[in-house]
């Protein structure tokens, strides 16, 4: 039984977007020393640093204020603040030439689509925005699962030890353990593919339970990549689309 209503799905999704935007902005703000110029290079390193701090401090403050406005203030304040947050995030997103990943993409799309949907009547806009983000998450998990399934490296089942052996995305001890247990590594490679594909596959079934299980499994997958690979942003961002997936599924199958 699906008890998720549009306003509740919308509220959950907005709350996750705002938490995700706040964490991301504060992380960007606190990169210890901005040696690397993430935008186009210029000799004015100090000035760029100041701009960087200003933009991300604004982004973090706007995320915080929007969250307060969402739960405690009239709708119009929330919409104005949310749109301002979208504008600042888009500016930062466009300026950063390097250092972006899938969670940045998803967050940016969610912010943009929710802002665009403010142009519609409340319930209609809410429905459309959660559907849109749900659709994006389905595309994302399908693509990631299919590309991995078609990849000989992933099918070979010997990818994880290699990835986890790097400094960039790894934990050397886990990598050594997996190298010593190739069957386990193979199992983990396949479980990553199955978990991703389970979301779109269970979405096509006219039952809620398998979809909920698939979403729970993919959430656990995000927790594990956050710990093992340091990709915590995915954990705070992708769940924003889950209410949309559940709602869309309910509408399609009338359950």
């Amino acid at each position: 039984m699906n008890h998720l209503t549009v306003p509740v799905a919308y509220q959950i999704s907005i709350a996750i977007i705002l938490v995700s935007a706040f964490i991301s902005a504060t992380e960007l703000l606190s990169i210890p020393k901005l040696y690397l110029n993430f935008g186009m290079p210029s000799t004015a390193i100090k000035n760029k640093r100041r701009t960087w701090i200003t933009i991300h401090a604004m982004q973090a403050s706007l995320a915080f204020l929007t969250c307060i406005a969402f739960f405690n203030a009239p709708d119009i304040y929330f919409k104005v603040l949310f749109t301002a947050l979208t504008a600042v995030t888009l500016y930062s997103y466009r300026k950063r030439q390097a250092g972006k990943d899938g969670s940045d993409q998803m967050r940016m799309l969610a912010l943009l689509s929710y802002s665009v949907c403010f142009l519609l009547k409340n319930e209609q806009g809410q429905l459309l925005s959660v559907f849109f983000t749900g659709g994006q998450a389905l595309i994302s998990y399908s693509t990631s699962g299919i590309v991995k399934l078609m990849s000989p490296h992933w099918r070979g089942g010997n990818v994880l030890a290699g990835v986890l052996s790097t400094y960039s995305y790894g934990v050397p001890k886990v990598s050594s353990f997996l190298s010593a247990h190739p069957l386990l590594e193979k199992g983990m490679c396949y479980s990553a593919i199955v978990t991703m594909l389970a979301v779109p596959v269970t979405f096509l079934l006219p039952y809620h339970a398998p979809l909920f299980i698939a979403l729970f499994c993919i959430l656990c997958f995000h927790v594990s990549t956050a710990i093992l690979m340091g990709l915590n942003d995915f954990l705070f961002t992708f769940p924003l689309a889950y209410p949309g997936i559940i709602l869309l599924h309910g509408v399609i199958f009338g359950i």
Partner: protein
């Protein structure tokens, strides 16, 4: 207004699906002025299984030692909640990747010296070297790829710079 918003989001969703096909990405990018069409093939088809490392040395009367730019931090459980370093790390990896692909695409390799990514790495080295105030120095830098973490193995030199004054 209703139809405009629905049409926009529907077109974007269809474009997002087509954007996952590698052959269509360049064509669709032409219309994507905001750079927001997403690419969702995370760590596939072939994931990164080596690290990039940027090393540099000063060149005076005698050559200096190669020094590595700090790009990596050891594992901590805390990164489940808080991991700002990932942006810097990913930024460096992206910059190295962009630079190498640009270098491979160039006919006249010397033009790489005016590449935004080349300059970006020089700025990074300059910040490491001078901490904002120092005399001009002649340097060289290189991007190397390495495997493993506990037992580090240098794989190859991916890129070597010209002598630069910074």
């Amino acid at each position: 207004m209703q139809y405009l918003v629905i049409t926009t989001l529907a077109i974007f969703t269809i474009a997002s699906v087509f954007f996952q096909v590698k052959r269509l990405q360049r064509r669709l990018s032409r219309f994507d002025k905001l750079g927001i069409l997403p690419n969702y093939s995370f760590f596939a088809p072939k994931p990164l299984m080596n690290d990039f490392r940027v090393v540099y040395k000063t060149i005076a009367e005698t050559d200096g030692e190669w020094t590595e730019i700090p790009m990596y931090k050891p594992f901590r459980f805390m990164r489940l909640c808080w991991n700002p370093f990932k942006y810097y790390n990913k930024g460096m990896i992206d910059t190295c990747n962009f630079l190498v692909s640009e270098f491979n695409a160039l006919e006249n390799k010397k033009f790489i010296q005016v590449s935004a990514h080349y300059l970006n790495i020089l700025i990074t080295i300059s910040a490491c070297l001078n901490k904002g105030s120092g005399d001009p120095q002649k340097i060289r830098f290189a991007i190397i790829s390495s495997e493993g973490a506990e037992t580090l193995k240098i794989k190859n030199v991916v890129f070597a710079s010209y002598h630069q004054i910074i």
